[in-house]
Symmetry: none
Subunit: 241 residues, 2 copies
Amino acid sequence: MEGERKIPEFYIILVEPKYGGNIGAVARIMANFDFKNLFLVNPCKLDDECYARAMHAQKILEDAKFFSSFEKAVKNIDYLVATSSIDSKSDKRHLRNPVMLEVFSKNIYDAQGKIGLVFGREDYGLYNQEIATCDIMVKIPTDESYQSLNLSHAVGVFLYSLYINKESKKKIKRTIGKIEKEKLYSFFSELLDEINYPLHKKENTEVMFKRIMGRAIPSKWEYHTLMGVFSKTLDKIRKKK
Amino acid sequence: MEGERKIPEFYIILVEPKYGGNIGAVARIMANFDFKNLFLVNPCKLDDECYARAMHAQKILEDAKFFSSFEKAVKNIDYLVATSSIDSKSDKRHLRNPVMLEVFSKNIYDAQGKIGLVFGREDYGLYNQEIATCDIMVKIPTDESYQSLNLSHAVGVFLYSLYINKESKKKIKRTIGKIEKEKLYSFFSELLDEINYPLHKKENTEVMFKRIMGRAIPSKWEYHTLMGVFSKTLDKIRKKK
């Protein structure tokens, strides 16, 4: 509706959860913080333990959507958020270079559309390929001595952080959607090709660009301006050929 | 020691918890957020489920102290905090008139001594008499439609809130400094010149780039990667001249 402020709509996406009790506990904490949409990718059986721990959040379990793959689950999501409480010391630094949960929660209400919060397996978390698909990685801060959170606690802390920031944000800002984002990323990728960017570094640098934009959350206006700069740059290089 | 800043020491006090699984989950989330002291008032048996859910936080269970009454548990605590996620509509309003968790967490690090965080029973919470004993009541905000948190999630959200306020006093991230920022902006400006960007739009677009980077807060490593891309792009354009 005209003049109406759209707020982001959140989807809690659990990738291959292994324990029904965790899924039930996630449903309950979602209800506690007023989240409704639960996506389950190849979950275990929703057993008695699951329904018992959901308590008064049975409806969230009833309304949950099931997917046979991660790709199918995230197909219509505008902005994908990988979550983790584990620091990576690996060389995939861009991939996992995270923004802190408190910072994310303050900024995300400037965005619109469908926001997918992706939580990985109880044992392995998210695979690198799944993380690379996401627009941003958010870290839930934990103590170095024991970083691994129980799945439902990771969701709980995350949703609490969003919940307390929801009311404090009323600012109106028009942000870009999935199609615009992909155009922007693909222009950047074309630019890397045109400047003969080393192939072995290309993917990492693309992810870095995604992360920077993911943290900055560009407005429509910024998007069009950036696209103008990219487009003129590409023209300039190609004309000279 | 003279001149040394004492920080508060926290004690997690569970009053008559009924499920071993909850106690185990509390132990785990305590370890995740670097809390060590667990007091148990008339708990249920610490069963297999309890030890299983504690995962790598067995030491917290081993070191837990047992008390036969609330009074005995809190005898040596300097500052007692009753916790709840439930609003009271009763006439005992003064008793339950709470401070919000976010506010409490910001302020408590100014305190010293032993701080007891008291969490009530899974079903009845804390009795009025127990609340009256406490110095303050802290409310964990939850949605009105379903306020009752699982015990371990109440503890989890509470400790997360304390943890991020502790960390925010010593957070260090290697971000770029003034000189690097200015180099980055000036490369962007050179790029605009090279692509014959309309002069009347140039200043605006430079500011936009600054704002995007200001929100993204690039790491040193991202900075060097971005500079590499800019530098190769400028080279490419200039060589073609």
